[in-house]
Each structure stands twice: as structure tokens, then as C-alpha cells.
Symmetry: D2
């Protein structure tokens, strides 16, 4: 008999070079805590919040899945364990949501908002850390609380 | 030489039997106005706001495209001119956004929010009529104003 | 009560400038015959076989749906009634198959083969006209026979 | 500097309980050889050829990615390291192809044929082992030769 499979938790948030340092350190702590608790981290595979979360998870021995918008695995950040190059553009946001049991949103713009909305629509738990204040999103005070809520 | 192709405008909003009557009449007026101005109406093809918008458009001689979540065209409301059965579930929301030049959101829940977010992310114009108050969404006072904004 | 909705038939085949003239005239005849018999024509929306089929259908008063690989409706040929810009690349082949009740393949390369295979996998009728000789594909001798088989 | 990322190779073939024993042992040997040579194995995540390939890869210490048609990770076979539940049905075949640098087809029906066709269309290397005889597919005599061709 195989052991119960691990939870998959998506960490979503902005990419790009302009993400605030506090969000990056929050994302890294979320990734680290998810790995410590045995969860597989799913994300969009790029830089910014996604990279920080992956770095935290990998440093703690975790597995990270990057579901990329483009068709080339080389777009993945260096901390992605397994990259899925979808070529779907922003439609891959829906795959991130489907792949995960729960979402932790760290900051984020409109792409992140689309993921929050799709997860709420699908009835999945969404935890926010400095992210959108949408009804149905549980607001967490810090990374540990966010992960605890996501895995509850 | 072919004439300039018509604009495609998505009308997004809630399905189901519980949509408020005022939203339905707004949606119908939006559909009617879009048709009157020569736009093709794109929507999710189901009931509620989608059906009301299609009914308005067809009554005014317009063309309506229903991009369905399921695999069967029979899910389309009776006012859909052309139905595309995607079998993609909520991922079809992203196709509605891609297919359209602009969005008019009439009320709506989390599915609608995902469409608003994807459209803003793609840099498309989003007009709201009693819908989500998200930065970047232009709020319209009535259906005619909503359509005028969407087609500007 | 609404009348029974029309059948949707996909016409698939190669795009590009190098398609043999005989295939183009076959495709045009298939489109024309589909329109004459009241079917909606679904295709990939581009040039070559797709354009020829749309031209035939439109000349006979039919409706044509172009499910495009790219994100811009301007890629559609001039005979597409309704264009859906998917941005999915070749994954849109699967949407063409899902959207249709049956397929007519006119010549074609590997993209066409993927559509034939997906349609057979989905249990849909596939008729070939100078196309791949795959078990399960009904071979037709001419366009009228192909359409008759597809609509049987 | 990170080391060069590993190649990703898809192993495609039939699922279900009726796959011939010889194909299963071939698939298992392909999986084992891919893992031994450091490749990540991508597949559809289900049973039959997919499960046999994953079992071979995991026994040799490799990583296996299952890109599932349904929305539930519990559909994955027990030898999948990372499961992506897409909910796309057969459209996920296109994601398997996109995710991989090359394909090894072991036997297979129409779903497999769609993957072969999409990979050839995308210009990726396709190696067949008792699979479809399509122009462009390299026929291999045994699992080791198939893997050597795929990784060339």
C-alpha cells in the first residue's frame, strides 16, 4: 500500500523584478514551511514570488512544480524541480489552480487575482498574505499562519 | 477587399436561476445595444446573464457566440448563434477573454471575477455594470454607457 | 420550442500556399455541400484547405467557424463567419474536434492527423478525402459522398 | 551556475487492463533506461503502458511526471512522482507533447497517435516501439535503442 499522497499547495503572486522585498521574504518562508510540512509546491514557475517560494521550498528539501506559460522549460526559475511548459499563456493559471488542493496568494496583480477567483469558484481554500481582499479569501498574518490555514 | 471586421465584445456574468431581475434586464439591454452597433457578442453560452445578453442581441439581429464549459452544444442557451463546446470547464473563461476585444461584466461571482482579472492582465478594456469594483474596471451607469465604453 | 440545432462538421486539412489545387477544389465542394445541407462548418480558420472550405460554404449561404491557433482574429481567412482566437497553438486542434459532430479530412499533414486521431478517440465519425489511411477513417470518393457520410 | 537541466522524454501508449504483456515489459524497460540516463519521464499518468514506464523509471531512481486527463490526482498510478491534474481530457495529450523534448511511443491506439502527430507537427523526435508506422517516426528494435534514439 502506498502512503497517503502529499497535499499540493499553489503559491501565487507576481513575477518580475519589481516585487517588494517583504513579499519575497514572505514567499520564501511560505515555500520553506510548505516543504517542512511535506506539501508539494505548485506555482507558475517564473521569477518574483514564484522563484522566492521555490527557493524556500527547495532549501527545506521540498519538491516544486512550475507550470509555465510559455513553451520552453528554460523559462523556469532555478528552484523548480519539475517544469511543465504549457504554451498556454495565462490560461495556465487555471491549471495551477486545478493542480493544487489550496492556494496561498502572496501579494499579486491581475494574474494572481484570476487564480484566486478560479480557486474560489472551484471551492478550494484560498489564503492571502498581503494580497487581494476578496470575500472568501482567508487573510493570514504571517507565512506560518498562511501555510497552517492552507493545510487545515 | 473585405470590410473591417466587427468588434467582438464579451458579456460576462452569473449563470443559474437566481440572478437578480435587474441584472438580467441590464444584460439584455447590453446585448441589444451591442448588436445594434454591429458587435459580435461572446459569452459563456449558458443561462442567467449570458442568456439574457444573447436574447437581447438576437432580438436586435446580432450574432452571439457561446463558449461552453462542457462538451455538449446542447448546454447552450436558445439564443446562441454559434456554440463552441470546449470541455475545458472554467478554463474556457480564458478563451472568452481571448476571443473578445473588450469585456462588459454584469454583476457576477467568482467566475466573472476570473474573466475580469484575465482581461485586465491582457490589457483589454473592462466595463462593469453592478459588478466587481476592481482597479482598472470602468464603472458604467447603464447599459448604453457600458457598451459605449466597451466600444470606445 | 426551438428547431433541432444544425450539425457541426469540421473540415480539416493543410494550410499554407502549397496545397494541391485538387484538394482545394475538393475542400471548396465539401464546404458548399455542407452549407447546402444546413451544417455549420468548423475549421482551423487559416488558409489552404480551411479557406477553400469556408469559401465554398459561404458562397452557399452557410456559417463557418474558425478556431484559430493564435491570439488575433486577423489571422482568420476572409470566409470565416465567426472567429475564435484561442492562443492555444496546436492544442486548438482538440477544440475543433470537440466542437464538431463529425470530421471530413481533406488531404493533410501531421496537424490533420492529430485531429483525425482525437476524433476517432472520441468516437466521432471521420471521413477522409485523399487523406490519411487510418483504420476507422471512412474513405470517400468525392466531396458529395464525404459530406453524405459525415452527416449520416 | 546550475547544471544543464535534464532532458524530458514522454513515453506514450495505451492505458487500460488489456495492454499486451510484451508492451508492458518494453515500457518498463524504456522507463528504466530513461531514468538510468538521467531523463525525466513524462506521461499521461494512468495505467497500462504509462504505469509500466513509471514503474521502471522509479525503480531506477528516476523522476516521473503524470499529466492526467481528469481533475483528480488520485487517478495517477502509484509510480508518478509529480501529478498534474489538468481536467482537460484528451487535450492534455498536447501538454504531454509540449512538456517533452522527444517521444517514445510503445504500441498505442488513437490517443497515442494524436500524440505522435502533435509531436511530429512540433518538429520533435518520435521513436516507435511496436507503434504506429507513420512517416517521420523512427522505428526502434528494442527499449535501449528507443531511448538512445530519443536522447540523441
Amino acid at each position: 500500500m502506498s502512503p497517503p499522497s502529499p497535499p499540493y499547495v499553489a503559491v501565487v503572486g507576481a513575477g518580475g523584478p519589481d516585487v517588494a522585498g517583504e513579499l519575497l521574504s514572505d514567499a520564501e518562508a511560505v515555500g520553506s514551511e510548505l516543504a517542512r510540512r511535506g506539501a508539494v509546491l505548485v506555482c507558475g514557475g517564473l521569477d518574483g514570488v514564484m522563484e522566492a517560494a521555490c527557493r524556500g521550498a527547495r532549501a527545506a528539501g521540498g519538491t516544486t512544480v512550475g507550470i509555465l506559460p510559455g513553451s520552453s522549460r528554460s523559462d523556469a526559475n532555478a528552484y523548480v524541480s519539475v517544469a511543465v511548459a504549457t504554451g498556454l499563456g495565462e490560461l495556465r493559471n487555471g491549471l495551477i489552480v486545478r493542480s493544487a488542493d489550496a492556494l496561498v496568494a502572496v501579494g499579486g496583480g491581475h494574474g494572481t487575482l484570476s487564480e484566486i477567483a478560479l480557486a474560489l469558484k472551484a471551492g478550494k481554500r484560498v489564503v492571502g498574505l498581503g494580497s487581494w481582499q476578496i470575500e472568501g479569501v482567508e487573510q493570514a498574518g504571517d507565512p506560518a499562519e498562511a501555510v497552517a490555514s492552507a493545510l487545515r
